[in-house]
């Protein structure tokens, strides 16, 4: 078995989750953040996953970001991905009102229902501010919603990359300030069972499986 180096190349691992209606730009936001590019993407199937290493506040962080499908038919799947997330990003489209109203009607409820983490940091992100002329949800409305639900708030554009980095950074900074989340994300806590020593049934066994 491959032995992982005893010095992990990061200090903390955080699990982040992107949710919101179909077409609000979750995948674009993630792509913009992880690879600095923007392109027309087809709807996500089920879930996508990306890793990004960042250094925030002098700490090396590994971000495991789950990007869920917004389409109704995959709704049943996403529920199981809330589990264990330290940060949840709710995305809406500032040019489509229903994506904003659905946050209160659907997504905030989903978080309450499925998130296992009491202290988990929530963030509200209004995407597509590059289409200022088509905007139907004002910044004020976003701020009010964030205040009501106790989350962070930013408006951004995956296309122009305005505020994209910032929204992940703010979220992560907040996680770093929360001791309980920090403890979970600590690199020392190895959960991968193949890297663990298998549980021994008796103390005398180690000699048989050590080589």
């Amino acid at each position: 078995m491959e032995v992982s180096s005893s010095q992990p190349e990061f200090d903390y691992l955080f699990k982040l989750l992107l949710i919101g209606d179909s077409g609000v730009g979750k995948s674009s936001l993630l792509l913009s953040f992880t690879s600095d590019t923007f392109e027309d993407l087809s709807p996500t199937i089920g879930v996508d996953f990306k890793i990004k290493y960042v250094t925030v506040g002098g700490k090396k962080l590994k971000l495991a970001i789950w990007d869920t499908a917004g389409q109704e038919r995959f709704r049943t799947l996403t529920s199981s991905y809330y589990r264990g997330a330290q940060g949840i990003i709710m995305v809406y489209d500032v040019t489509r009102r229903e994506t904003f109203t659905n946050l209160a009607d659907i997504w905030a409820k989903e978080i309450d229902l499925y998130s296992t983490n009491q202290d988990c940091i929530k963030m509200l992100v209004g995407n597509k501010v590059d289409k200022e002329s088509e905007r139907v949800v004002s910044k004020k409305e976003g701020i009010d919603f964030a205040r009501e639900y106790g989350c962070l708030f930013l408006e951004c554009s995956a296309k122009t990359r305005i505020n994209v980095e910032q929204c992940f950074e703010e979220l992560v900074l907040k996680i770093l300030e929360t001791p309980s989340l920090l403890a979970e994300g600590s690199a020392g806590v190895k959960k991968n069972i193949f890297k663990q020593k298998p549980p021994e049934t008796s103390a005398a066994t180690s000699s048989c499986c050590s080589w």
């Binding site: 996508d48 996953f49 038919r73 049943t76 199981s80 589990r83 296992t116 298998p198």
Partner: protein, 663 residues
């Protein structure tokens, strides 16, 4: 290929996800028995237990990792959008399966709007075909009874040969018990798997309740086709070198069948059906090349004229094209043997049903590796008598057991005896078994094995031993052995003459193990998953075989299941970890705590190192089963293997027992 699939894209996505989850779960099973880890229930409640510090993409050891070549070809076959692959791999590898299984089951159960009625009709046709296939594979009860009868006779015979004074009364008791025991003429798979205390299992089955039977078998059918489809790129990075049916895939399907609450024999029917249709397609192609008319009398040509296979070839237009370079003669030979099976199948389900079935198997543009699976089979194992001799193994020969040879079975079982009194004892202990595997018994070093077995038996019946037994000494010998206390000097002296023969036999079993590993590595079993079962020194052959495999193999792609019965293997001297890693499914060590014959013969290492045949091993991932109540002495393995194997319920994915019922 999407056009010919019986499932909608979303359903295929869900099926791929479930397959990935099951694959990862199966790998976990290698080092932790499912249902045995205590934190299983608790982990459900603990926050963030799911997040692992490592992502799948960084751990090439994982079966779900891209480099294993186990998952991506399946995704590709299912025509799942490439963008979704990574998410699926991570999902399956980074969090406990029970978080997701239910959700994907629900996704699978949902109907997609477009042409769903047509699809469900196809699914129904397929399900019917599978049912009738399962029916045709059902062992006819009369034959089974007569086999049972034969087995009893054999048992009686053995008892005569091996009886010792104290065994006698025991023997009578067991004989009665075995007569009273419920007749296991039905498959022992049944739905017993539901009884496990494993939470995920129950949960999954609940969710599975929402799925129709047709949908479930269709999923399994398409997944199996995907496993066999030979569409992976010849990528150097991929660790999996062989074509054919990977043992890890079979284990995964077995787990998936459990989750879906589909009986394993249905899955075996699916396997046979895929094999049949693939071989039919291969034959079809071959015939075309031979310009059809050359063999007008073959029943195959008749079917073809009847439009049955023709219809299959037209429907979907995607019957598997078996590419060149495969063992065509073996396929042709296999086909004639298959004819009766196909013959019974076709009248029942009708031409359209068969066509539906065949095109389901053929929902791939590439070729299916079923033919590669069979490879040199038939001639393969039984012909390996002439296999290159290694060291000084004088005898090493496979003998077929049962009637499943060349019947399109996609899995092989190799049975190894180890305590024998004549050549029949290599085959007879295994004849009563009732499963759908292609079975072979390994006959090896009969001269030495008979010598050592006889020597032990002679000693047991000697006056000295009789005397000891009368005093009840033998029963305490074992505990003495275990506690490493001093032995009576007289006892030690008496065993001297066994020792030399025993040492030779141990030595030969190690070499036979190496030879067996060689056979498997060369693929003489036809690149099909192998189940290895052996008792006494035969178990040692198997264990050694696994160790030798571990020297060159990276993962468990060859061996699906292993059962060691009364194994003369040291617990702490041997590398159980390496051996376990070579087995993708269940690894069972069955032991009898009063098998003092074994203890006596193998006492040298027992003093300090432990002995697998009389006590539980401590490597996690190895199932320990106490069968003391079935075993009176070491020779009992000759006739008790059947009952033991029945108890183990090999066809279920998890053991359904914690401790065996005491008689």
């Amino acid at each position: 290929m999407a056009a010919t699939s019986f499932l909608s894209p979303t359903q295929r996505y869900a099926a791929g996800a479930l397959f990935a989850l099951a694959l990862h779960q199966a790998q976990i099973h290698q080092t932790r028995l499912l249902g045995s880890f205590a934190d299983d229930e608790a982990s459900d409640e603990r926050p963030s237990s799911g997040s692992s510090s490592d992502s799948v993409s960084e751990d090439p050891e994982l079966w779900v990792h891209e480099s294993s070549g186990l998952l991506r070809p399946v995704f590709k076959f299912l025509d799942i959008d490439q963008a979704a692959w990574l998410g699926l791999e991570e999902t399956s590898g980074s969090s406990p399966a029970n978080h997701h299984v239910g959700a994907f089951m629900r996704l699978l159960s949902e109907d997609s709007g477009d042409n769903s009625s047509e699809r469900s009709e196809q699914q129904l046709a397929l399900a019917k075909a599978i049912d009738s296939m399962a029916l045709s594979m059902e062992t006819n009860p009369v034959a089974f009874q007569s086999r049972k009868e034969k087995h009893r006779e054999y048992e009686h015979e053995c008892r005569q040969k091996c009886s010792t004074s104290d065994a006698q009364e025991n023997a009578a008791a067991v004989a009665i018990a075995s007569e009273n025991s419920p007749d296991t003429s039905e498959y022992n798979v049944q739905s017993s798997s539901l009884g496990t205390g494993y939470k995920l299992d129950r949960k999954a089955v609940e969710e599975g309740g929402m799925l129709s039977y047709q949908r479930k078998v269709t999923v399994l059918y398409e997944l199996l086709s995907a496993c066999l489809a030979d569409i992976r790129d010849d990528d150097k990075k991929v660790a999996r070198r062989r074509k054919g049916y990977d043992a890890r895939h079979r284990v995964t399907l077995r787990l998936l069948a459990t989750w879906l609450d589909i009986k394993w024999r249905e899955m075996e029917a699916i396997e046979t059906m895929v094999a049949c249709s693939a071989m039919a397609a291969a034959r079809e192609k071959e015939l075309k090349e031979e310009e059809e008319a050359q063999s007008p009398k073959s029943s195959w040509a008749k079917w073809k004229r009847g439009g049955i296979i023709g219809a299959a070839a037209l429907t979907g237009g995607a019957l598997m094209a078996i590419t060149g370079g495969l063992a065509a003669p073996a396929i042709a030979a296999g086909l004639s043997a298959l004819a009766p099976t196909l013959g019974t199948l076709i009248p029942v389900i009708g031409a359209s049903g068969f066509a539906a079935a065949a095109s389901a198997a053929g929902t791939v543009a590439g070729s299916v590796a079923v033919a590669a699976s069979f490879g040199a089979a038939g001639a393969g194992l039984t012909g390996s008598k002439t296999a290159r001799r290694i060291g000084d193994v004088d005898e090493f020969e496979f003998k077929s057991v049962g009637e499943n040879q060349n019947q399109g079975r996609l899995a092989v079982e190799i049975l190894v005896s180890g305590f024998v009194f004549d050549e029949d004892d290599f085959v007879k202990p295994w004849e009563g078994q009732n499963d759908n595997l292609e079975r072979y018994a390994l006959q090896w070093e009969s001269k030495h094995l008979i010598a050592v077995s006889t020597a032990i038996q002679d000693w047991l019946t000697s006056r000295f031993a009789m005397e000891l037994m009368k005093q009840g000494a033998m029963m305490t010998v074992l505990s003495t052995l275990l506690t490493a206390l001093a032995w009576p000097a007289t006892l030690l002296a008496a065993t001297d003459f066994i020792d030399s023969k025993w040492t030779i036999a141990i030595n030969r079993s190690d070499k036979a193990g190496k030879l067996l590993a060689e056979v498997l590595r060369k693929g003489l079993q036809g690149n099909r998953p192998v189940t290895l079962i052996g008792y006494s020194l035969g178990a040692r052959v198997i264990f050694k075989c696994l160790q030798f495999l571990a020297e060159t193999e990276q993962t468990a792609e060859l061996v699906e299941r292993v059962v060691l019965l009364g194994a003369p293997i040291s617990i702490r001297d041997e590398n159980w970890k390496a051996a376990r890693k070579m087995v993708s499914g269940r690894f069972i060590n069955a032991y009898s705590t009063n098998d003092w014959t074994l203890g006596l013969a193998f006492r040298a290492s027992m003093f300090t190192q432990g002995l697998a045949g009389i006590q539980a091993t401590d490597y996690p991932g190895v199932e320990n089963v106490d069968i003391t109540d079935l075993i009176e002495g070491h020779s009992s393995y000759l006739w008790a293997t059947q009952d033991i194997l029945d108890r183990l319920e090999l066809d279920t994915y998890y053991p359904t027992f914690r401790s065996p019922p005491r008689i």
